[in-house]
Symmetry: C2
């Protein structure tokens, strides 16, 4: 691109898969991105959007004309089209929708009526359904002749009753083995997992994972068939949800490494600001003991150790608890058992580290009473860390607040405050 050898670049990109083109757009320097998009422009492959990170997707959309975007969108499956359009602002949405072919437009508009992150947004409208009184032969003939109106790839044929309610499904690999005279109603699997369109995508991912599903029908409130979700859509959801927990625990709103510097700075500011407030709170606990520290400076040297160990032990417990909640392994049935176990684990590790740090501090400052003080504070703080590392996320989950997002702040506030207060308080009592 630097040398302006556009023709060669064109030759290279024409052979690439959409996912690889998206990678190319991401990896290339910002100074060349515009030129690359211009090369791809004449026949922009809509699938590229599906593989681009959020901020670059916006950049590319800004550079293309609404007409060009509409042409790219028209080629997409309805779920991918919705995924792309839902993030645009109202004006852009209108412009693109107006440029879409009427049927695609109707499907996309209907899809947008479902809540964000719901099965309705995730599902594809392209599916195969046949009435239960059809025979295998009639179904196979239908598949063979109606190729234009049917999706290119599918795995299950859904069987519906006259009200278009789902009564069962037949995997492709099974229907092919049946005699042509058999009624589909007689060979269908009734035991299928049906998903309501308003179901949250996290719940959808759970069902696919729990029952090893490959595809599942999506129905409206009356059980009528609307669409189908396939496992490849769920892979993206699983990635998103896993990333979500990781990010929230670390206080980062997204992992988009292509976002601009000022956007990134702003997005991280809030979490750091909350952290500043909790750090000042912890400092004010220390300030209560200024007189004590003035007399025994060793306290200032040792106090971060107690707080840091509490924070780390608490984070271990917190991570396990948040993950268990996300994977639905933690419920009312076993919550008490898990809390008790974590508190016990904290106390045992607290005792072990109390011995170690007690000896280290005692020898370092030649004061065995100081060793006893820090040892006691360590046990108290690691017990509290185990207790709060489970109770805080469980409590937030019960209040319907996402435990991943707020737990870490609460927890480190508790372990800092308790760590400083226990250590300095005991020191004031015993050493003064």
């Amino acid at each position: 691109l630097d040398d302006g050898r556009i023709g060669e670049v064109e030759a290279v990109v024409s052979d690439l898969h959409a996912a690889d083109l998206a990678d190319l757009v991401e990896q290339i320097g910002p100074e060349h991105r515009g030129a690359l998009i211009d090369i791809l422009r004449p026949q922009f492959d809509g699938e590229i959007f599906a593989y681009l990170s959020q901020s670059l997707r916006e950049m590319v959309l800004d550079q293309l004309e609404p007409r060009e975007i509409a042409a790219a969108v028209a080629e997409l499956e309805s779920d991918d089209a919705i995924d792309l359009i839902e993030d645009l602002d109202a004006d852009q949405q209108r412009e693109i929708l107006e440029n879409l072919p009427p049927e695609t437009r109707a499907l996309v508009e209907e899809g947008l009526t479902f809540p964000e992150y719901s099965a309705g947004r995730l599902m594809s409208r392209d599916l195969v359904s046949v009435p239960q009184f059809w025979t295998v032969g009639k179904t196979l003939d239908y598949l063979r002749t109606e190729t234009d109106n049917l999706p290119e790839d599918f795995y299950d044929i859904f069987i519906v009753d006259p009200m278009h309610k789902v009564v069962g499904a037949i995997p492709l690999s099974r229907i092919m083995r049946q005699k042509r005279s058999v009624k589909v109603g007689d060979i269908l699997t009734e035991d299928i997992r049906t998903i309501t369109a308003t179901t949250d995508q996290e719940e959808v991912a759970f069902l696919f994972r729990q029952y090893g599903l490959v595809s599942a029908p999506v129905v409206d409130g009356n059980g009528r068939l609307l669409g189908v979700i396939t496992v490849d859509d769920v892979v993206d959801v699983i990635d998103e949800e896993a990333e979500d927990d990781l990010l929230k625990l670390s206080g980062v709103p997204d992992t988009d490494i292509y976002r601009a510097v000022l956007d990134t700075t702003r997005s991280r500011f809030t979490w750091l600001f909350i952290n500043l407030l909790t750090a000042i709170l912890a400092s004010s606990v220390i300030a209560l003991f200024e007189a004590t520290i003035e007399q025994i400076v060793a306290l200032a040297v040792l106090m971060p150790i107690v707080a840091s160990m509490g924070g780390n032990a608490g984070t271990q417990t917190l991570t396990v608890t948040v993950r268990a909640l996300a994977m639905r392994e933690l419920s009312n049935t076993n919550a008490v058992r898990v809390v008790a176990k974590e508190a016990l684990v904290g106390t045992i590790n607290g005792t072990l580290f109390a011995v170690i740090i007690g000896l280290v501090a005692g020898f370092w400052f030649q004061d065995h009473l100081l060793g006893i003080v820090i040892a006691s504070a360590m046990i108290i703080n690691l017990f509290i860390a185990g207790l709060c590392g489970t109770l805080i996320p469980l409590g937030l989950a019960r209040l319907k607040i996402d435990p991943a997002v707020a737990s870490a702040v609460f927890l480190t506030t508790v372990t800092d405050v308790v760590g400083f207060f226990a250590f300095l308080g005991l020191a004031a009592l015993i050493l003064m």
Copy 2:
């Protein structure tokens, strides 16, 4: 179970899906688990193992006889059987293998020859392959008559040459629409992603995600077809890998909430011990400035704020970097750009928080010079946090060390040491 109403329990469990039975085994109190297993025992469904957490799997395996385990394993697909057997110790493996039917045994033993976490362990041996000179009609007849030797569910038919090398694939939904006289060699898709049996499972997950695959053929070093990996196996891998990063960043070896107290305590001890060493290192930096703190106790009150802000800002950067490395968004091409950006983000946020904390500290202790000291230390530490939050994981990745596992320790050591040193050092210079 408490009332000994075994009959009723038997009636309930006989209707449940293996995944739900596994949940039941997990949720039930440890005191009843043995009795429940005894109820399930006569026809133990091997699939339950696939859904159980590691520690409970071991418990259940201990309770069952090798003969019973072998009967359950014989019902499984070869990849699930391998997944179960690979975790056992050599004695148990031998005992179970001896009780398996000969063909299953051969498949499992062959599977175990592939490296752990490789495509060879992940793949299923049950697949459909036909020679390229067959017609569609012959293929469909073969599928219809050979039902006993073919897998129950499959999505693609693989086409092989006389050397059993993969030349392409045809999705089921496409072959059904063709005329019977067409040769499969003429309608196959050549552009498929073939995976070598020794490929790491992380790489497999990347390929499925990158190209939206549903199934992919696995071949040996000579390109001969060995097995097939389907997307539902990859979902488990994605879950595992995502969990892995989350856990390593928090210093927890696993999220198994059913593990016993002492095992859990031991597994967390190492990380906490490393953390203790780094905390002592940070304390020894503070000890350098004992004389300064003795004269200005306010320093002891304020110093944790600088360290804590550096730790949090660094963790934000670290999380984004580790995730970007895992998702292959960060490469040599853009590494320098990302490092520079994060250092800049750190400096900008550092400046903003320098103003805030400078004012707070200045008013709190009525000393504007103290405000200037803490403000300067904040900028330095947040710049270092941004720089090291990217450089440490990138450096570890280059040394082929998993960046998720060791980065956090290095990073917080740096931000603690720099935070205390910059703040106390500047205080000693300016205020004394």
